[in-house]
């Protein structure tokens, strides 16, 4: 086929420009900015003052930022375990041959298409505020948590995490499902003929062949939790609170913040961004080193 240079350039240029303007330029500038003392986001570069690692040191000394880091790690770890195991469970159940597979699949994914603000309000009001009445009271009592004040300081973080996990499961379930779909059916048939039961098939066939999918899911999970924002806003009382603050909320407060009690620092906000990006990179490298899916051919 004939290739025309002009066409290649014309077709690619807008997309490449978008990449340069929306990703390469901002990322570079954010990294540089994190080493400068910059008060306002809109400050001209002449007003920047080199500050070395000062912004990072200040973040480290900030009680709020340390709380935010602790929260985001808990969300990543505990939420990750809950969401990924639930979504794997659902994927396996849906693939076990039950009726109504596509209905249940659509049902579990549904929270993902609802505005997070709406979903968070529903959960907050029905499951937690309403916890003393009717059906929810019964459920919490059965679970032995009848007297828990979910929106109090002790529990609000967990209330937020539970509600967030409910909405997140569907997405990861879909990706696990597509991973399971790609495993050839004859592997299971052969195992059945050889007398392996379902649990054994899961451990020896499904799990090893799902490692690549697990890797994808872990990466997506990390990227999406790092930018945890709306849910924290929805579950915070009037102002940012130590119990629910996340790095993204902290960044928003110190750069765009409207509250008078926060010292404005765009340089500090940039440093938060760099730390988050480094965490994603670190997780990505760890996942690649720990989970190996090469060498299996099917």
């Amino acid at each position: 086929m004939k290739q025309s240079k002009g066409m290649i350039v014309a077709f690619l240029a807008p997309a490449v420009v978008a990449f340069l303007m929306m990703f390469l330029y901002p990322v570079t500038r954010t990294v540089i900015m994190s080493f400068f003392q910059v008060e306002s986001v809109t400050a001209k570069t002449d007003a920047w003052q080199f500050a070395g690692f000062n912004n990072y040191v200040e973040l480290w000394n900030s009680v709020t930022f340390r709380a935010a880091m602790k929260n985001i790690m808990l969300i990543w770890l505990i939420g990750g375990i809950v969401v990924l195991s639930l979504s794997l469970l659902f994927a396996v159940v849906l693939n076990s041959g039950i009726r109504g597979k596509s209905f249940f699949r659509a049902l579990v994914y549904m929270p993902n298409i609802i505005s997070a603000v709406a979903l968070a309000t529903m959960w907050k009001q029905f499951v937690f505020v309403n916890a003393n009445y009717g059906l929810m009271k019964g459920i919490w009592k059965t679970l032995g948590m009848g007297n828990v004040n979910w929106l109090g300081t002790d529990m609000i973080f967990w209330a937020m995490l539970i509600a967030f996990c409910f909405g997140a499961v569907g997405y990861y379930m879909l990706i696990f499902l597509s991973g399971i779909d790609r495993i050839p059916a004859d592997l299971f048939e052969a195992a059945t003929i050889d007398g392996a039961n379902k649990p054994r098939q899961f451990v020896h066939i499904t799990m090893p062949l799902l490692m690549g999918t697990l890797k994808t899911n872990l990466t997506f999970w990390s990227i999406s939790t790092i930018t945890f924002f709306v849910w924290s806003k929805m579950f915070s009382p009037l102002n940012t609170d130590l119990t629910t603050v996340t790095p993204m909320v902290y960044m928003y407060d110190i750069t765009f913040g409207t509250q008078g009690n926060v010292q404005r620092s765009a340089g500090g906000g940039a440093a938060v961004g760099v730390i988050m990006a480094l965490m994603i990179l670190l997780i990505f490298m760890a996942v690649n080193a720990l989970i190996r899916d090469d060498g299996i051919e099917y």
Partner: protein, 286 residues
């Protein structure tokens, strides 16, 4: 497995019972959650506070909806979300489809580099780009108009969409282009008249997905749509919920949640298969 209806075999179904139970539990919870919110949206604040939502003792209070609709600019929020979603969707496809066609069809120096750049861009968190982007739009005096958000949503989604559509273009047979070339069609014309229409299933899939994600987007809308005139449904609903919680108008609060929930829910009822295909088709190596 094809969708052939299996004869009911009790033994077989009994084995699947735990699976059915798990799914039914989830179904019941979701229905009760939505049902309660809907019932609450038709109740008075007093009934909600007393936990008597399903009784409707004082009748159905549709005025909650009227109050939520008229005391806030819900229709403006809807219109804005619609404008943001449709305009950026059109631009995304217009920019991404040609790029992804060229990347999947032609070999030229830099092809691999551009692909890798797009894949890396998909994993760059928003927090890493938002500050300079805000600085840039301020400098260009773009803030305070809808154009800003449309451009940003467009640019932000190009790496994902381009990568997504590459699968579709590379699965199309080259015979179409050869036939078009014999008939004297230039490569550029071939793309717009022959290849783009052929990629339509992929474009529709990714399009619905993009539409919903822009419609529900919160963080960028919060930063760039600061006036009431520009606000989209995410931050708009946040404001409504916030005020109504403070003023204790719980009925109106739930009514506004339902108002925002319904349009996406209706879209989902009709297009769930397409939307699900949009999730599993992108970003996953096959």
């Amino acid at each position: 497995m094809k969708k052939n209806v299996q004869p009911v075999s009790l033994k077989r179904e009994a084995k699947l019972l735990p699976g059915y139970l798990i799914m039914l539990l989830w179904l019941v919870f979701t229905v009760v959650l939505l049902g309660w919110i809907f019932a609450a949206s038709l109740s008075t604040t007093r009934e909600i506070n007393m936990g008597k939502v399903l009784g409707f003792e004082s009748g159905l209070h549709f005025e909650n909806y009227a109050a939520a609709w008229s005391s806030y600019n819900v229709s403006v929020y809807f219109m804005n979300s619609f404008i943001y979603a449709t305009c950026s969707l059109a631009f995304i496809i217009l920019i991404s489809a040609p790029a992804s066609y060229v990347l999947s069809r032609f070999s030229f120096p830099g092809n691999k580099l551009i692909r890798s750049c797009f894949i890396i861009a998909m994993s760059i968190p928003l927090i890493m780009v938002i500050l300079p982007v805000f600085g840039l739009t301020t400098q260009l005096r773009l803030n305070g108009s809808r154009v800003t958000l449309i451009i940003l949503y467009t640019f932000l989604n190009i790496p994902f969409t381009t990568t997504f559509l590459m699968n579709f273009f590379s699965s199309l047979s080259r015979t179409y282009e050869e036939a078009a070339a014999i008939d004297g069609c230039t490569p550029t014309k071939t793309f717009w008249l022959v290849m783009l229409p052929l990629a339509q299933p992929g474009i529709v899939t990714v399009g619905i997905f993009l539409f919903l994600s822009v419609w529900n987007e919160y963080f960028m809308a919060l930063i760039f749509a600061t006036s009431d005139r520009l606000r989209s449904v995410g931050p708009g609903l946040y404001m409504m919920v916030d005020t109504m919680t403070r003023t204790g108008k719980l009925g109106g609060l739930f009514a506004s949640v339902i108002i925002v929930f319904l349009p996406t829910f209706v879209i989902y009822l009709f297009l769930s298969e397409k939307i699900i295909a949009g999730v599993t088709g992108g970003g996953i190596k096959g």
